[in-house]
C-alpha cells in the first residue's frame, strides 16, 4: 500500500516547496484539480522510489497559480488539462494551449462555478429570453 501523506500548502510557498522536491531528486507524479464550494483544490503529487507525498492547496477562480513547467517540464500536460476542465489560470505555463487542449462543449465542465462557466450560463439564459423567430408555415397557421 502506498503511503498516504498529505500536506497543506499556501499558494505563495508552492514554487519553493516544489523546487525543494526537485533538488532532493523527487519526481513530479500528478496534478489533480477538485471543485470545492466554488473554489478549486489542487493536489500535487511527488514520488521518490516507494515514497509518495501530496501537496494540497485551495485556490479561488480569480487567483493565478505559478506553473511548474519551468521545474518539471511534464507538468504542462496536467496544467493545460486543469485549465480547460476547471478554469484555473497558470502563470508561466509553457507550452500553453490557451484553452484548446481539451475541446469541451461547455466551458470548465468539472467546475461549474468558474468565471468562464458562469459567463456561458448568462449567455444561454439571455438567449432563452429572446423569442425565437417562427417559420413561414407556423406564421401561416397562426394567421389562418
Amino acid at each position: 500500500m502506498d503511503p498516504q501523506v498529505f500536506f497543506d500548502s499556501e499558494l505563495e510557498q508552492l514554487l519553493l516547496r516544489v523546487q525543494d522536491y526537485q533538488q532532493r531528486g523527487w519526481r513530479f507524479v500528478n496534478l489533480c484539480g477538485s471543485s470545492v464550494e466554488g473554489q478549486v483544490e489542487l493536489l500535487y503529487s511527488f514520488a521518490q522510489g516507494k515514497q509518495l507525498e501530496n501537496l494540497r492547496l485551495l485556490v479561488s477562480n480569480e487567483q493565478s497559480v505559478p506553473s511548474l513547467s519551468a521545474i518539471f517540464v511534464n507538468s504542462f500536460f496536467f496544467e493545460n488539462e486543469t485549465h480547460d476542465l476547471f478554469g484555473v489560470n497558470f502563470k508561466g505555463l509553457a507550452p500553453n494551449f490557451g484553452g484548446r487542449f481539451y475541446p469541451t462543449s461547455v466551458p470548465t465542465p468539472m467546475n461549474p462555478a468558474s468565471a468562464q462557466a458562469q459567463a456561458r450560463l448568462q449567455e444561454v439564459e439571455a438567449l432563452a429570453q429572446v423569442p425565437s423567430p417562427s417559420s413561414p408555415e407556423q406564421q401561416e397557421r397562426q394567421d389562418g
Binding site: 500500500m1 498516504q4 500528478n30 489533480c32 503529487s45 514520488a47 522510489g49 511534464n74 487542449f101
Partner: protein
C-alpha cells in the same frame, strides 16, 4: 536559414492505433519541433463518479481502455480499499496479480506485433498476435470475457481459478515460452529490426529523469524503477523482483525491455501459482467512504506507473476520482525524442513509447 514546413500527423495514421495529433515542424527532412494535441476522445469518465455508486464504478473503470482494462479495475479497487481501510483476502490478492500479469503479457505481445507491423515485418506481427490469442483464451476460460474481464471488485475478486486450472495456465504459458523465445530472438538479433530501431528516439538517463518518464520508456533509459518491486498486494509473496532495465535509451532498448518483461511476467505467474494460499475471495465492504477522506494508490500498468486518487464525501458517491496514466506522464519525453529525428522515423518513434490515448483522456 532552411525553410520550415509544418506537417500535421494524426489523429488518424496507419501506425497509430490511438488518436494523437502532432504538428511537426520540419527543417528539410528533420523534425525541429513537435506540438502534441489530444482531446479527440475525452469522455469525462472521472466526472461520472459523482453519479455512480462507488462499488459499481469499478465496471466503468474497466471500460476506460480495452488493453489496460483489468489494471484500471485493480487500481480503482486498491484506491477505494485504501480509502476505507479494507483488508483484501490473500488469495484474492494473488489472483489479481495473476490476471494483471497476464494483461501485461497480452499488452506487450500486442505492442510487439504493432511494432513489427510498423517496420514492415508482417510475419513477425502475425506470430506475436497468434501467441496473444492464447492469453485471451485464458481470460475467456477464467472470467468469460476476452477484453473486459469483470474479475475485480472492491474488496477482492468475483471469480476463483481452481488450483488445477492455475496449473493448466502455467502449462499453457510454458508452451508459449518456447515459441515466444524464437520471436524474442528475432526482435533482438535480426539485423532488419536493429536497423530500424537502433538510435531511434534516443533519451538519456538524465533526460528520462528530468522528464519524469515512467514504465518501459524510463527503464529503457536505465532508470530501474518499477512499482511492482515495492511489493504491493500479491507481489509481496515473490522471493525477488528486479526490474528489466536497458541502458541504450533508444527504440531498440524499449523493444528489448518489453520483450523481456513478457518472460518476467510468466515467471511471476509461475511462482505465484506455487505459492497461492487458500481462502476467501472477497470481503464485504459496508458503508461509504467518510466525508473528506482521501486516498492515493499506484500500480505498474504495462505502459508504466499509473496513479489513482479518490475523495469521499460520506455518501455512496465519490466527490472526486482521478487517474493519471503512464502516457500522460510520458508525453513530454516523447515530444523531446521527436526533436531532431528524421521525418521517416516519427511513426516508429511514437510507437516505441506505446502511447495509450484512451487511458490518457478517460
Amino acid at each position: 536559414m532552411a525553410k520550415h514546413t509544418v506537417i500535421p500527423f494524426g489523429p488518424q495514421h496507419p501506425v497509430l492505433p490511438e488518436p494523437l495529433h502532432l504538428d511537426l515542424v520540419l527543417e528539410d527532412e528533420r523534425v525541429v519541433e513537435a506540438i502534441p494535441q489530444v482531446g479527440f476522445i475525452h469522455r469525462g469518465l472521472e466526472k461520472l463518479v459523482e453519479k455512480r455508486d462507488f462499488q459499481t464504478f469499478v465496471n466503468i473503470t474497466e471500460r476506460i481502455c480495452g488493453i489496460c482494462s483489468f489494471g484500471h479495475s485493480l487500481g480503482y479497487s486498491q484506491t477505494i480499499e485504501n480509502l476505507m481501510g479494507v483488508e483484501v483476502p490473500p488469495r484474492a490478492e494473488v489472483l489479481r496479480v495473476i490476471w494483471h500479469e497476464l494483461s501485461r503479457v497480452h499488452s506487450h505481445l500486442l505492442w510487439l506485433g504493432l511494432l513489427a507491423d510498423a517496420f514492415g515485418f508482417e510475419n513477425l506481427f502475425m506470430q506475436c498476435w497468434r501467441l496473444r490469442e492464447r492469453i485471451l483464451d485464458i481470460f475467456e476460460r477464467t472470467t468469460g470475457g476476452r477484453v473486459i474481464l469483470s474479475a475485480c471488485n472492491v474488496g477482492g475478486v468475483n471469480q476463483d481459478i481452481t488450483n488445477e486450472d492455475l496449473r493448466g495456465i502455467v502449462h499453457i504459458l510454458e508452451g508459449l515460452v518456447d515459441e515466444y523465445n524464437e520471436l524474442v530472438n528475432t526482435f533482438l538479433t535480426d539485423s532488419s529490426v536493429a536497423n530500424r530501431l537502433r538510435g531511434v528516439g534516443y533519451l538519456s538517463k538524465d533526460q528520462a529523469r528530468d522528464f519524469c518518464t515512467v514504465g518501459p520508456f524510463a527503464r529503457a533509459s536505465g532508470i530501474a524503477e518499477d512499482i511492482r518491486s515495492y511489493g504491493y498486494g500479491g507481489y509481496g509473496l515473490l522471493s525477488a523482483f528486479e526490474p528489466v532495465v536497458a541502458e541504450e535509451g533508444d527504440g531498440y532498448a524499449r523493444c528489448k525491455v518489453r520483450a523481456l518483461e513478457v518472460l518476467q511476467s510468466i515467471q511471476i505467474i509461475k511462482e505465484l501459482v506455487e505459492k497461492i494460499p487458500d481462502g476467501e475471495l472477497s470481503v464485504r465492504v459496508k458503508g461509504s467512504p467518510v466525508a473528506g477522506s482521501v486516498a492515493v494508490s499506484r500500480l505498474e500498468q504495462p505502459r508504466g506507473e499509473c496513479f489513482y486518487y479518490a475523495k469521499g464525501n460520506g455518501s455512496k458517491y465519490l466527490s472526486r476520482f482521478r487517474i493519471r496514466t503512464p502516457t500522460a506522464q510520458n508525453v513530454a519525453g516523447m515530444v523531446h525524442t521527436l526533436q531532431g529525428c528524421d521525418f521517416a522515423d516519427v511513426p516508429l518513434n511514437i510507437l516505441t513509447i506505446d502511447p495509450c490515448i484512451s487511458c490518457t483522456e478517460r
